[in-house]
């Protein structure tokens, strides 16, 4: 069965209530077109996980698509906070399980390796741990190290149903390159039941087979490959395009209130039929060309 599909079909493979792990970090490589299509298709009651919360997760939370967020805190860097996530936590409409970057990464790592649990030094002595014990006592525990008799905090593996990963390039089977730092994406994909890869470019398998050391995601984990240039807009994709400051600022301003955010969604999600219309709306080819990364700098 060919894996290369449109965005709509890939998104339609996600069930209400699924646990999805997202590739974004703050304002980099966020699965934005994917998030917009999830909202358009009305998929709901999602659990979302991410080492550090990013714009993709924030938009899904703002649209009411998320019941539960497992993450290590996050922001939109200097542009602002995750206003939708924070508001949903404050009003209690979102179950947020807050960790640190490494503790989510270790939970993915344990999931990727089939470990039953993973010991960690982080979290001890903090209120993060105190809250986790209250909220989800079943995901943290302690174990005595049989070698030293020291008691260690251990975390349960985190195994999303689907990893959704924005990459620079992949082949038709989903063998993928990720340029730049990968943050949690390697462990996320390998922990998850399957992966949806959203690529700026689908390249010939021969190119992948020429430098197989660069493959971060093996195609055998991938169910859908979506070729979607500028799929991360307004966030950046290293070596492809820069973030779009003006559009991120617009998003941040909308995050201040329910009505403003609804208007934002009406304009950029519900008001456009698909990614192509979205790209036209934010300025079309001229705007996109102005964001193109410098080949030396990578941004």
């Amino acid at each position: 069965m060919p894996k290369v599909t449109g965005l709509g079909e890939a998104v339609a493979s996600i069930a209400d209530g699924a646990h999805i792990g997202l590739s974004g970090f703050s304002i980099a490589r966020c699965a934005m077109a994917f998030a917009r299509e999830i909202i358009r298709q009305g998929i709901r009651n999602l659990t979302v996980s991410q080492c550090v919360g990013a714009m993709d997760a924030d938009m899904l939370v703002g649209a009411g698509a998320v019941d539960r967020l497992i993450y290590g805190g996050g922001s939109l860097d200097r542009f602002g906070l995750l206003a939708n996530v924070n508001a949903a936590i404050e009003t209690g409409t979102l179950v947020a399980e807050e960790y640190s970057s490494l503790s989510v990464a270790f939970r993915y790592l344990a999931g990727s390796l089939g470990l039953p649990f993973i010991p960690i030094r982080s979290l001890s002595g903090s209120d993060l741990l105190a809250r986790l014990r209250e909220k989800s006592g079943s995901d943290v525990a302690t174990v005595e190290d049989p070698f030293t008799k020291v008691r260690w905090l251990v975390l349960k593996p985190l195994v999303p149903d689907v990893a959704v990963v924005q990459v620079q390039a992949c082949d038709a089977e989903g063998n993928s390159w990720i340029m730049g730092p990968k943050w949690d994406n390697g462990e996320l994909v390998k922990a998850s039941g399957r992966a949806i890869v959203i690529a700026e470019r689908v390249i010939p398998a021969d190119e992948i087979r020429r430098e197989p050391e660069r493959s971060v995601i093996p195609g055998l984990l991938v169910s859908h490959v979506v070729e979607l240039p500028f799929g991360a807009h307004p966030t950046s994709v290293y070596r492809e395009y820069d973030y779009d400051s003006r559009r991120i600022e617009e998003y941040v301003e909308a995050g201040g209130s329910r009505d403003a955010f609804r208007a934002y969604l009406d304009a950029y999600v519900f008001g456009v039929k698909n990614h192509r219309e979205y790209l036209e709306k934010i300025g079309g080819r001229d705007k996109l060309e102005s964001l193109r990364a410098d080949p030396v700098l990578g941004y």
């Binding site: 404050e90 640190s100 490494l102 960690i120 982080s122 001890s124 002595g125 943050w183 950046s236 973030y243």
Partner: protein
């Protein structure tokens, strides 16, 4: 030579770093301080960012760790597990360099829940790698603004543990290391070796002891003699102004 409080903070931060060390930092003043140390007394220091960046050489200022500007010319681009796992959790990070919204007298950092003027709590950025760094680095250095609402008797939420309740509480939580100093725009604080309460180490030139104490949310330990913080050298200022933060994004 004239200098701003931020410049003195960056220079004071740089002085906490030694050659050959591995330093985990975020963007902002900690990065300016680290780059300054590397260009002066610590050329073989390694600067690592949690998302998987080692020893980058930015030529443009970024808006945060997610900005490719701060990854430019790195020697390694890898992952959280590589940096926070195989370096930090493995015990190879000598200094963790953190900013914070609030710190208490035991060096506990809060970046999660901040009280607003109405007495309600607002959710902020949470941990990111800060809890990991505070838990696992051999020592941590904090840089933050000197304000009563930032230097507090106690914090409403411990995101990243310092000495927890003081004394042996950090050890009892299973953690080594701990904060070695807090650098503000008025003073530098250490921690009392036994009580682990914050203690004045030096005051920045131009400030008085009274002013330092009155503008914090609690009364720190005060040793018998309190020296002034050493001023930046002209070369340090030149590096900050011309090479590291020419746009004065971080060092205002």
């Amino acid at each position: 030579m004239e200098y701003t409080p931020s410049e003195l903070m960056a220079v004071s931060g740089a002085r906490e770093l030694g050659d050959g060390q591995v330093v985990a930092v975020g963007v902002g003043l900690p990065m300016v301080a680290s780059l300054l140390a590397k260009r002066t007394h610590a050329p073989d220091m390694a600067i690592v960012f949690e998302i998987g960046v080692i020893d980058s050489e930015p030529v443009h200022t970024g808006v945060g760790l997610a900005d490719p500007r701060v990854w430019y010319r790195a020697t390694v681009l890898s992952s959280f597990v590589d940096i926070l796992g195989t370096l930090l959790h493995r015990g190879r990070v000598d200094v963790g360099f953190l900013g914070g919204l609030e710190v208490d007298r035991y060096g506990n950092l809060n970046t999660t829940l901040i009280g607003d003027p109405k007495g309600e709590f607002r959710h902020m950025v949470g941990s990111g790698g800060a809890n990991d760094i505070a838990s696992c680095a051999k020592k941590t250095v904090y840089i933050m603004r000197h304000e009563p609402r930032k230097l507090r008797e106690s914090v409403s939420f411990i995101t990243s543990p310092g000495y927890v309740g003081g004394g042996k509480a950090r050890e009892e939580a299973g953690l080594a290391g701990g904060p070695s100093c807090v650098i503000t725009d008025k003073a530098i604080f250490g921690f009392h070796p036994e009580s682990k309460r914050m203690s004045i180490r030096s005051i920045h030139p131009g400030n008085t002891l009274e002013d330092v104490i009155e503008t914090m949310g609690f009364k720190p330990e005060i040793p018998d003699t309190v020296p002034f913080t050493e001023a930046p050298s002209p070369e340090q200022l030149r590096l900050i102004r011309e090479e590291i933060d020419p746009g004065r994004i971080y060092v205002g």
